[in-house]
């Protein structure tokens, strides 16, 4: 039987559907007492992984355990694990209350529990309505009610925010947090970081079936770096002065400003003052979490074009460096099998360089986001290439690659480092990974 720990463990999990590898050598642990976000683009393998944890899908390799044992040997699984897999799993003609009564009987809880969970999720008034008449949000609530019937210790939710109205999302957030705070385990998947950003304490980010990040959200947040955008009277002079002061991570922006990474704006202003350079404008800019997330999951849908060299010292196979190795340091051997299995895979297929450095043959030339595209925004087709990024939205930085530049100054992860705009002013054909998720906002992975 199970150990009652509330811990979910996934070890070297691989699932192949015919020629398609949905999940590859995935390992992580989910601890009780916190809400863990399980993030990745659509198709990253989230749903398959959750279904393997739940014993619905048989792993090709590896094991997934809940409370130290495989789901199928839990004995009374619904009293240990509740799962909200999709909001479509109801007989459309069965009344909501009857749906719950069916599964209450299966679990062996009294029918009074049905009324409790109906009230709990706010469906007390509509229990006599057929599930097929429910809105998406009501179906999500009914799915959650079903998961809660057995008063489980562990809750797994696959894209629960789909179809929920803002009020429902806020309610769910509060519910999950209090559920976790009572010492229980919550694993909630999403393909949109913003959806879970305010809910989760821990994050597991996967892309193409592999773990890209596993650790507290706070660590990821802290690894965000600010850059200072300064408009000096004499950029050359200021650059020299900054370099003299030991600040090397700087670059001119297309609009004639200077971007300085890893410093405070006061510091830059002081140096400028000492160097006798006038500062006409200065501002600090932060990359948001969403952009970090994109950078970690980028490449899932980018076509495998041969990248142009865009930085010296690239080591595409190097796993991400310390900022991402908070809880479970990356184990290099995790990456070995892939390389052995795909010896001819060009490196960019695994760690795609920023696509703006190359034409994107797979994409239509028009309609894809250009520079300055906010991560979630519409493709601004007419966006002037020389627009000053920082004056509008936070600039769309080049999402960093999964392979940090090893000789970059610490912390290695800086979204700014590689944003070297073309000097001829030509508009880069940037493909924003966010766009690939646009179509799937309501979809499932």
């Amino acid at each position: 039987m199970h150990d009652g720990s509330g811990r979910i463990t996934v070890q070297q999990l691989t699932k192949r559907f015919g020629p398609v590898t949905a999940v590859q050598n995935l390992s992580f642990t989910v601890e009780p007492g916190s809400v863990t976000g399980f993030l990745g683009p659509n198709g990253a393998g989230k749903t398959t992984t959750l279904r393997m944890i739940l014993g619905l899908v048989r792993p090709s390799v590896g094991i997934a355990t809940v409370n130290g044992t495989a789901f199928n040997t839990l004995g009374d699984p619904a009293r240990v694990v509740g799962a909200v897999l999709e909001a479509q799993n109801f007989h459309p003609k069965r009344k909501a209350r009857n749906h719950l009564r069916v599964y209450a009987a299966a679990i062996g809880v009294p029918d009074t529990r049905v009324e409790q969970v109906l009230q709990l999720v706010g469906l007390g008034e509509v229990g006599e309505r057929k599930a097929g008449q429910f809105s998406m949000g009501m179906k999500q609530r009914l799915a959650l009610a079903t998961a809660l019937l057995g008063d489980p210790q562990v809750l797994l939710l696959d894209e629960p925010a789909n179809g929920l109205d803002p009020e429902g999302i806020a309610w769910l957030r509060t519910f999950l947090q209090s559920f976790a705070r009572s010492g229980r385990t919550v694993l909630v998947s999403s393909h949109i970081l913003a959806e879970v950003e305010q809910t989760v304490d821990q994050l597991i980010i996967i892309s193409r079936g592999q773990t890209m990040y596993n650790g507290p959200l706070e660590h990821l947040r802290r690894s965000q770096q600010a850059r200072v955008l300064v408009r000096p009277s004499d950029p050359e002079k200021l650059m020299t002065a900054l370099r003299d002061a030991g600040i090397y991570n700087l670059e001119p922006t297309p609009d004639g400003r200077l971007a300085v990474v890893g410093v405070q704006s006061e510091q830059v202003a002081d140096i400028a003052l000492k160097a006798g350079v006038s500062v006409y404008g200065i501002e600090e800019e932060r990359v948001n979490l969403e952009q970090l997330y994109f950078s970690l999951t980028q490449g899932q849908y980018t076509p495998g074009t041969v990248p142009q060299q865009f930085g010296p010292g690239q080591q595409p196979y190097l796993p991400p460096q310390p900022p991402y190795q908070v809880q479970q340091p990356y184990q290099p051997q995790q990456y070995q099998p892939q390389y052995q299995q795909q010896p001819y895979q060009p490196p960019q297929d695994q760690y795609q360089p920023p696509p703006q450095y190359q034409p994107q043959p797979g994409y239509p030339p028009q309609g894809y986001p250009q520079q300055n595209t906010p991560p979630q925004g519409m493709p601004p087709q007419g966006a002037p290439p020389q627009n000053t990024p920082a004056q509008h939205t936070p600039a769309q930085p080049t999402p960093p690659q999964g392979n940090p530049v090893p000789d970059a100054p610490p912390p290695q992860f800086s979204p700014w480092q590689q944003q070297v705009p073309p000097q001829d002013g030509q508009q880069p054909g940037q493909a924003d990974p966010a766009q690939h998720d646009q179509g799937g906002l309501g979809g499932r992975s």
Binding site: T48, L56, V57, A83, N89, R94, Y103, A105
Partner: protein, 281 residues
């Protein structure tokens, strides 16, 4: 296990399908016996006129047996939706997550749907009896013992058909495909195959096909009871009667019955085994 069976019955009785499929079953059972009995009534009157005495010909026994063969298809279709319907409405995941194990859930389905087969069988018995009474009046009915014995065999055959359906639905998991295959096979496929087998001069094999073994067992059993009800002299030549009721060359009722039990068991077990392993994605 009790919980799982209870859950299955709640599933069954909280949607309309169980009585929607019972309606055609009721109609078929009633009308088949009504018509048969009406024909028999005229025949018996003619016979009485010719022979000058009233002859008791309990032909309703045959029609009762035949009507179980007719209504079994509805029970089989209902059974075929037990597992495949859960795939169709995507409830199978929740069902597996709330059961003690997949094996438990699937066993519970077999038990619950045996119960539904029993319900369909008893309904057929009641409607067939009412039909026979309406068409013929009580005087032409056989003895209660023979009637109930034929009904018993018919009910068992219907339960087996239901289980075969459950297994087929578990094997295929696509509800529409399972139902279509079941219908196509029992209405056309098996007949076509029988014709082919006859053309190849191995027609006896056709008696052991699934639907033929089930209906053959029923008809032979009903015919045997019919003959014993007639209380003919031992020397009577029955070959004409055998060809009239289409039982000539059929194996004994218990042979057909055992063959059909084997079919039902193979389908149920195969569906159970496949469903236990199938990925739910």
């Amino acid at each position: 296990m009790g919980n799982a069976v209870k859950a299955e019955f709640r599933k069954i009785f909280t949607t309309k399908m169980w009585w929607a499929l019972l309606i055609p079953s009721v109609v078929v059972a009633f009308l088949a016996n009504l018509g048969f009995a009406a024909v028999q009534k005229t025949g018996q009157a003619d016979l009485a006129q010719v022979s000058g005495q009233t002859v008791h010909v309990p032909i309703a026994l045959i029609s009762l047996g035949v009507s179980f063969g007719f209504t079994a298809i509805f029970a089989a279709i209902y059974g075929a939706m037990a597992i495949s319907g859960e795939f169709r409405h995507r409830t199978i995941g929740t069902t597996y997550l709330t059961g003690r194990s997949r094996g438990d859930v699937l066993a519970a389905k077999l038990i619950a749907y045996s119960g539904m087969g029993l319900l369909y069988g008893v309904t057929t018995l009641i409607c067939a009896t009412l039909g026979a009474l309406a068409g013929d009046g009580s005087d032409a009915l056989p003895s209660g013992g023979s009637w109930l014995l034929v009904a018993l065999v018919g009910i068992v055959i219907i339960m087996l058909w239901t289980l075969l359906g459950v297994g087929l639905g578990g094997l295929i998991s696509n509800q529409i495909a399972a139902v279509v295959i079941l219908l196509a096979w029992s209405l056309a496929g098996e007949n076509i195959l029988s014709v082919l087998l006859r053309a190849m001069n191995i027609s006896s094999v056709a008696h052991y096909l699934p639907a033929s073994s089930a209906s053959g067992s029923l008809v032979v059993f009903a015919y045997d009871r019919f003959i014993s009800e007639l209380s003919l002299p031992p020397s009577a030549n029955l070959s004409d009667l055998e060809s009239v009721f289409n039982v000539a060359g059929l194996p004994p009722w218990w042979v057909g019955g055992l063959v059909f039990i084997a079919y039902a068991a193979v389908f149920a077990l195969a569906g159970w085994a496949i469903s236990r392993r199938r990925d739910i994605s």
